[in-house]
Amino acid sequence: MSGVRRTRRELSQLAVAAGLAGLGMVPFLATLLTAGLSLLGVGLPLLDRTLAGTRTLLDRQRHRVPGPPVRSPYRPVTGALLSRLRTMAGDPATYRDLAFLFVHFCLAPVAAVLAVGLWLGVAQGVALPLIHTVAPGAIDNYLGLPIDSLRNAALAVVPALLLGVGAYWLPRGLLHLEDLLTRALLGPTTRAALAERVVELADTRAQTVDTQAAELRRIERDLHDGAQARLVAMAMNLGLAEELLARDPEAARGLVTEARTNAGTALSELRDVVRGIHPPVLADRGLAGGLAALALGAALPVDLDVDLPDRLAPPLESALYFTAAELITNAARHSGAARVAVRLHRVGTTVRLSVFDDGRGGADPERGTGLAGIRRRLAVFDGRVRISSPAGGPTVVDVELPCES
């Protein structure tokens, strides 16, 4: 962005800040007033409205600052008037809102005036030779430099340019200060953030326990109905064959053959169970090998780009493997894609998996269990999943997991 455009944007941001700060005085004063009235027993509904309005206004401020939006720190407000007011009165965020409104009101207009004033000063300095010629004596001093001759008026350009450097950088600093102030007063406190994190952890832990229990039940059922049943049948056949061996060798042979077939089927079922628990190739070769094997076995061509300096922790490998497997399967089954690209990179302490397909798009994480299952699987690792799948394609699923360095 060019310097001029950037400066213009910064100045207008400061002006907006000043405007908002002024506007903020309305809910600020209204809060004090209605709170006072409420002490007298009237004005409770007004206080409720006012606080709600304050929050709406400040949510705009939270999204206005540069960088990622500040998260709303409010406790959920529900129920009847009195319980709502009790929640809000007990929420430290309410008081921090008021503190912000006050401080912002004191500083933002000053900041805006200062920033614009500085530029006006620069403009004046640069125009001094002209002003001196047209109306000598109209300005007799510029930043301590007496303007008594055209030469001095021309010299004033030097301090004016120095002032210009300050005027160029000042808005940026001021906006940065505003950002800090907003984050400090309008963001969640450390305490609130920790409380939220605890809720999130309890949630993902419960989900993980559920998922694991369901998984174990599924494995138990697969073994019970599959390999175990076949082994029972096999033992029966062999026992019977043993009995028949002397009397009816031909029948015994038939039973032994059947037993062998059962053994083969049991083995192949066990293999499927094992693959579902932890694919052997993943144990052997890590994620790079696991993905290469997935790509080879996929129903459509897969471009693979893996850049991992060393192996990840086994639980991460497993989670990423099954995620990639699910996404490739989805692409093959639902998207009508001609090809899939899988990238796995590690940057610092983040490992990033992205799966791209050139299919018809329209994948909806709310529908179907696949994408929701991936979210659940990765939540326990603090993973983030982003899905972009406009109708008409392409579909890109980005997964980011923190990993220890």
């Binding site: 053994a263 083969g264 083995l267 052997d284 070769r285 080879l296 076995g297 459509l300």
Partner: protein, 214 residues
Amino acid sequence: MRVVIAEDLALLRDGLIRLLTAYGDEVVAAVETGDELLAALLEHRPDVAVVDVRLPPTHTDEGLRAALTARERVPGLPVLVLSQYVEQLYARELLSDGAGAVGYLLKDRVADVAQFVAAVHRVAGGGMAMDPEVISQLLARPARAAPLGRLTPREHEVLALMAEGRSNGAIAQRMVVTEKAVSKHINSIFAKLDLRDCDDDHRRVRAVLTYLDA
């Protein structure tokens, strides 16, 4: 025939020794780890090695790696790899030196004793023995690369049987056609995959590799 066996589970190791001895082969060494396997292969230079993929100490793909290293030092050393599961990735690694004399079978196949021993001997003789499951995995996915797309369904079938290591006669019997028809198919496959120069055994390996790489 002199055989080296690498298998860490005593039950299966003893079973393999008993089985191969019963068919008149001589087991010159039966080892448990990847390092021992490499040493035994280089020392005994057996006619064929029967190797479990997963061996101590890491219990990953130790056996496969040892076999591949041995084949780097002794090109074409016949190796039959056994595993509880098959991966195309590993099949490709085994075939990629183009020297042939490799097998890759599920452990289940040992149950069919006669066929298993035939596979061991085929590999010892420089042939191939790819597990039908490797092949069926290949067939399950649509052909992707251009040269494979040019094969007719009939030629696909021949290529799959070739990968299992069957001779022209066996393929003919299986497909209920004449041997002449089979060799016509095979020549057509070689032509379509652009394999004209080398001798027949190598071309078979190459053809299967092309299949795996697609």
